[in-house]
């Protein structure tokens, strides 16, 4: 099988995010970057599929020159090929989706994996946009997957339960937690990844469809207060609602 996994480079989830001086981007100083956690499920699922059926797994990302670090991690997890589509500055989802779709057209994969969302901008648009560009089915938020007879049977999380759907291949699977347990890169594979090539290509430029006007850090929520159940507490509650919250 020809398997494509689209991955995104995001700040480590433990990072404290600050807004940069332009007020439109984040301050990248001292940030450690990782593969977006949902994309790791995609890599793992791709690798398991390959281990079962043979084939190749290609990891692709659209990002800056620095994004080779996450491709190196993907290579250390044992994907066969890594591709960087180079974009110097942050672009909108349309740009990324267009570039991923154009690359997919070129290599014609049997299945495409990507995280349900990248955990930085959380725009949740990629699987749908890429599937639209390619004219192939897309199944979102998949937590269990079986591939047989040219079809994908996927279990997806829906409000309060599960939905089981079938899609013809090629299709896009957007990955949810629970799909698998991503492997740790093994030390010998980390060392081998060092000498594997990363293919770099220039991105196709598109018009900006969505423009970021500003970014801000949410204001700190005030801590809640817990009152007791005595008569005095009821009086206090009424007083607080009236005088502090000013809603009665």
């Amino acid at each position: 099988m020809n398997i494509l996994v689209c991955i995104s480079r995001v700040p480590d989830t433990a990072t404290r995010i600050l807004v940069g001086p332009d007020g439109k981007t984040i301050d990248t100083q001292g940030i450690k970057y990782v593969i977006s956690p949902y994309d790791e499920y995609g890599i793992e699922e791709g690798l398991r599929l390959k281990e079962k059926n043979g084939g190749t797994v290609t990891a692709v990302t659209v990002g800056s020159e620095g994004s080779t670090d996450i491709l190196r991690t993907a290579l250390a997890m044992c994907v066969d090929k890594a591709v960087l589509i180079k974009a110097d500055t942050h672009k909108d989802s349309y740009f990324v989706a267009k570039n991923l779709a154009e690359y997919a057209k070129e290599i014609n994969p049997d299945i495409i994996f990507m995280g349900r969302q990248s955990v930085d901008y959380d725009s949740l648009q990629m699987p749908s946009m890429v599937s639209e560009f390619l004219g192939i089915p897309s199944v979102s938020v998949v937590s269990k997957l079986t591939i047989a007879d040219g079809k994908a049977t996927a279990e997806r999380d829906v409000e309060g339960g599960k939905e089981i759907v079938e899609a013809s291949l090629p299709c896009i699977i957007s990955c949810q937690k629970g799909l698998n347990e991503p492997r740790y890169p093994k030390l010998p594979d980390i060392m081998k990844a060092k000498s594997k090539p990363i293919e770099t290509r220039e991105a196709i430029q598109t018009d900006e469809k969505v423009t970021v006007l500003g970014m801000s850090i949410p204001l700190k929520q005030r801590a809640g207060r817990i009152l007791g159940d005595g008569d005095g507490d009821i009086d206090e509650l009424v007083r607080l609602l009236h005088e502090e919250a000013k809603i009665i």
């Binding site: 093994k186 980390i190 060392m191 060092k194």
Partner: protein
């Protein structure tokens, strides 16, 4: 709360991509596989042997050994980072890896014949075989050259007699690298499990390194075939192995110190006394600063020593300084962390006392703190104080 591995001087920026990946990968392994089980093993005094296939699967056995012998072929700095992360879990787990890597695979790789390398290194890397290292004896610890264990030449091999003590992994080992006097000269032998006259009973009653197997090795007219002789003569053989292991320890101790520091910062910020977090008191802040200060220095010492080793420019005295300093500050950091955690500091779920008790052993094994002091004293003055 997620573990925040303190790196106050951005040492991570000095690491190669591969070294960073090794560190992250082992960190996650420790988080998910070691920390959830280690407390119980420590209490029960059992070695978590279920971790052996996981550690070998991750490539933690034979980290610097070339791939043709089943190793990962990583740098010494990469090896050190792996030890740092493992000891954040427990000194016993790091000790297990130290022995396999530095005291068993290193001498076989460095001094072994091609036959010995091909026979043992791939098995040791895959975890199919476990190794141990027998140098210390009941009456000869800091003074190994006085050892009583001896070998005599017999037809087709050697006859080994004597006893070793305080041997990590001894009882579970398939292969022992044993040092004995042959014609009055310290010589290495590979003693295979099941060899007639060789037993390895486990030592009990330890209140430190409880999740580690510590054993005696007993040799009674134990016949060693000719091909199991290790081709290195004199004390420099075992000492070169110890330098490797001590290097790993100097990183490992940093990992334990980072663990108790992180726990202390989190605890101090969340523990409320006198209506405010104890982190707001100057006395607590001073304690945290002491730890940060010493950990940062220890990290820099370990990092620089790693780079010297990668360039083949290190001296064993530099390893003595790193081992001596880093274990000492880690142990003190544990004591300070215990105070910050108050009564909670003695509970096993906070890991502090476990690290503290472990480091008491680490301080005196692989060369006591005092012996390293004398090695450095000799290096400064040219006068050996122990002769």
């Amino acid at each position: 709360m997620a573990y925040n591995a303190i790196d106050y001087y951005n040492i991570e920026e000095l690491l190669s991509d591969e070294e960073k990946l090794i560190m992250y990968s082992v960190r996650e392994f420790v988080e998910n596989e070691v920390l959830p089980i280690i407390g119980e093993h420590y209490l029960k005094g059992t070695f978590p042997s279920e971790l052996i296939p996981k550690m070998s699967g991750l490539g933690l056995l034979g980290i610097t050994i070339p791939p043709e012998y089943g190793g990962a072929g990583a740098s010494y700095t990469g090896y050190g980072l792996a030890m740092m992360e493992l000891e954040r879990g427990d000194s016993a787990i790091r000790s297990f890896a130290s022995v396999q890597n530095s005291l068993v695979m290193y001498p076989i790789y460095t001094y072994g014949t091609e036959g010995q390398k091909n026979k043992w290194l791939p098995k040791l890397a895959s975890g199919e075989a476990i190794g141990c290292f027998g140098l210390t004896e009941p009456d000869y610890g800091s003074n190994p050259s006085g050892m009583l264990t001896n070998a005599k030449k017999i037809d087709g091999g050697y006859l080994l007699n004597g006893a070793k003590m305080w041997i990590t992994n001894g009882t579970i080992a398939d292969i022992a690298v044993v040092w004995a006097k042959f014609d009055g000269v310290i010589t290495g032998f590979l003693v295979e499990k099941g060899t007639k006259g060789f037993t390895a009973p486990e030592m009990k009653g330890k209140l430190s390194l409880r999740a580690s197997v510590t054993s005696e090795l007993i040799f009674q007219d134990c016949e060693i075939p000719e091909e199991n002789l290790i081709d290195i003569k004199g004390l420099k053989g075992p000492l070169s192995c110890l330098t490797q292991a001590r290097y790993g320890i100097s990183w490992g101790a940093v990992g334990a110190a980072m663990a108790v520091y992180d726990s202390s910062v989190q605890y101090a910020k969340s523990r409320i006394q006198f209506n405010k977090p104890i982190a707001s008191f100057q006395l607590i802040q001073e304690k945290l600063v002491w730890m940060l200060n010493e950990i940062t220095k220890a990290q820099l010492v370990a990092y620089r020593l790693g780079r010297l080793k990668d360039e083949g420019k290190d001296r064993f005295q530099q390893t003595s300084l790193a081992k001596r300093n880093n274990v000492d500050i880690a142990l003190t950091a544990c004591r300070i962390a215990r105070e910050i955690h108050g009564a909670n500091g003695i509970l096993y779920e906070y890991h502090i006392m476990r690290h503290a008790a472990n480091l008491e052993s680490v301080k005196t094994y692989e060369g006591t703190d005092d012996i390293h002091t004398l090695i450095l004293g000799e290096d400064i003055t040219g006068i050996p104080a122990f002769e």
